[in-house]
Symmetry: C2
Subunit: 368 residues, 2 copies
């Protein structure tokens, strides 16, 4: 089962609130999905994720196929049971990861031949296999296998690539054997607005449960990203879920929500935490800096997360400098809490009609 | 304040239950102290430690002196506040760590000149400085600075060394400026029973709040360790706390408790967890082994820890193989729970008069 209901549309922007219903519960949108590449949001338990306000995470077909294997996960009762996560799970198709992680890969009409980044073993990822992986793990929202070319590719290459993505999307839809989840098409087309339109139209012709905006945030100018998300979101059906893949920084999320995007995922909160970079209401904070050595304040005075309620900057800096695992936990909790609060404030400001103020607030914040 | 009351003495062994009272609460003995070298039990929060049944941890003067510095900790309100641990904290004096970690060190009459293992900077650890460090961090049970020579040293060297440890112990006692905590003398004497006796008698002459048995579990034959703990514990005053430093494996703890030891600490549960070696009621389990790839059972069917209640061997193996941080958390929780339960069962079997059965049980278990 999959359902998406719009609750409220903003009067001054294209933003909307809504509710996604999957076989594993409801997800209020706009929503951010923490990244659980290998079946774990790094350092955090599922109970902690729930407490932080998240009701959907995103995992990855490429990674789970290689480790531990989608058949193994199926035999163990599916990914929800495997990782002890009772709420919704989306999965990326693996297309982007094959192209970014595998040293040797060849794109063919039928799929992608690639060498594992782990052991060099050869594999062939087809649209059918991608769906098989995602169905085996029990994904609630699957992605079609797509080709995600470098943003700097020329018009002709991008055009050719999106046509392949469309043909794969059709094969993905035809490969489905389950009807208890959703399948999203991924709009490609690089930085070319007419190709974005062509891709969106071709995918809408096939008809999907929702549409992802792919191939952005991969090196192109951030203003361009913003414009292309707006442009692409406007092309998509009003009543279907829209997902901006890999976006992004707080202001990127706020702007994309204004453009009518419902779903987000990004490694930024979790990866930045592991690198010691923290989001606060007064800007970014690099915890290793010597200025925090004797700082008894919490990371963010206005933050109510477990870390800020119980620990000083001096302590988390000490843990970080000493490479203590608890540092990663505490910093990840804090950043995820920031993103959880960001999404709550986007939703509540939309409900209250104050979304425009929120945009202004994040535009002036130095966390982007 | 420091108080130790014996609750019950075993009829067939020298074991006893008791209660330590510090300024930070009560500790039921025999007790195990998880190791928080740098002001954190690796990967675990203070709340989790409490839930696992621990009411005292042990930190380290050498490490805290180097990072973040005892003066910094004092200025931040002491170690309890710094690390958000409301219960008792013991500290080792740093003598053992200086001698085991520092590449260049020279033992003098007044103390130990050493180079930091972190940056090569030169320091001079005296009995007075060791007490200053431990008082600054706010330790509830401090240790005297001791020299811990290699177990293989000859009789004459060990004799000379224990005499120095005695002189340092006297200086440590004289250096105290606080009376809200305890100071333990550390009995040395290597593998020589008469030197153990001499060391114990010299320290008892000075009179301490409790006595530690040091210089064991550092390479000597485990049977020898056991005999020497029994021998040394029997020399110490009945009404004072006895602490076997760095001991150890479950059976070592059970045996030492039978010899009348009240306190234990060891890196075994936490370090083994990080190495993927788990304690179970049916023996040790090496989680990386391929046999667990598809194993849907918990690590230990008879274990009620968070990890065993929620995750399969297959999942924790997957996390471990992928070097995921959550693996360390889950495995550390499990092993600490095993040690927490071990101590609870030692205490309850002593209260119920079944301690002899418990010894038999652990002697036959393959977890040692």
């Amino acid at each position: 089962m999959y359902n998406f209901e719009i609750s409220k549309k903003d009067s001054s922007t294209s933003a909307r609130t809504g509710v996604i219903t999957t076989a594993h519960g409801k997800v209020k949108t706009p929503a951010f999905m923490p990244v659980a590449t290998l079946g774990t949001v790094k350092s955090i338990t599922p109970e902690e994720l729930e407490e932080l306000g998240f009701s959907m995470i995103i995992s990855n077909a490429y990674h789970l196929y290689l480790r531990p294997g989608h058949k193994e996960i199926k035999s163990l009762g599916g990914l929800h049971k495997f990782m002890n996560w009772k709420n919704s799970i989306a999965t990326d198709s693996g297309g982007y990861q094959v192209l970014s992680l595998s040293k040797k890969r060849k794109i063919k009409e039928d799929g992608i031949v690639f060498q594992s980044h782990l052991d060099g073993s050869e594999h062939f990822l087809t649209p059918k296999l991608s769906i098989e992986i995602q169905e085996h793990v029990g994904s609630d929202i699957m992605m079609c296998l797509d080709e995600c070319p470098p943003y700097s590719d020329d018009y002709k290459s991008i055009d050719k690539s999106l046509e392949l993505t469309t043909r794969w999307a059709k094969l993905c839809k035809e490969s489905r054997t389950r009807d208890d989840n959703a399948l999203f098409g991924i709009v490609q087309g690089g930085v070319f607005t007419d190709l974005r339109k062509k891709s969106a139209e071709q995918l809408m012709e096939i008809d999907f449960d929702g549409y992802s905006i792919g191939g952005l945030g991969i090196g192109e100018d951030p203003e361009k990203t913003h414009d292309l998300i707006d442009h692409t979101a406007a092309l998509l059906p009003q009543d279907k879920t829209r997902y901006a893949m890999g976006i992004g920084n707080p202001i990127d999320i706020v702007r994309a929500a204004a453009g009518g995007v419902d779903l987000f995922d990004c490694v930024i909160p979790t990866r930045n935490a592991r690198n010691g970079t923290l989001f606060t209401n007064t800007g970014k904070l690099v915890i290793k800096n010597a200025q925090f050595t004797n700082d008894s304040d919490p990371i963010d005075k206005d933050c109510g997360c477990y870390t800020c309620k119980n620990y000083s900057r001096a302590y988390v800096r000490h843990l970080y400098i000493c490479k203590e695992i608890l540092a990663i936990r505490l910093l990840t909790m804090h950043n995820l809490n920031f993103f959880g609060n960001l999404m709550k404030s986007i939703r509540s400001s939309l409900e209250d009609g104050n979304f425009f103020k929120l945009i202004k607030k994040y535009e002036s914040m130095e966390v982007n």
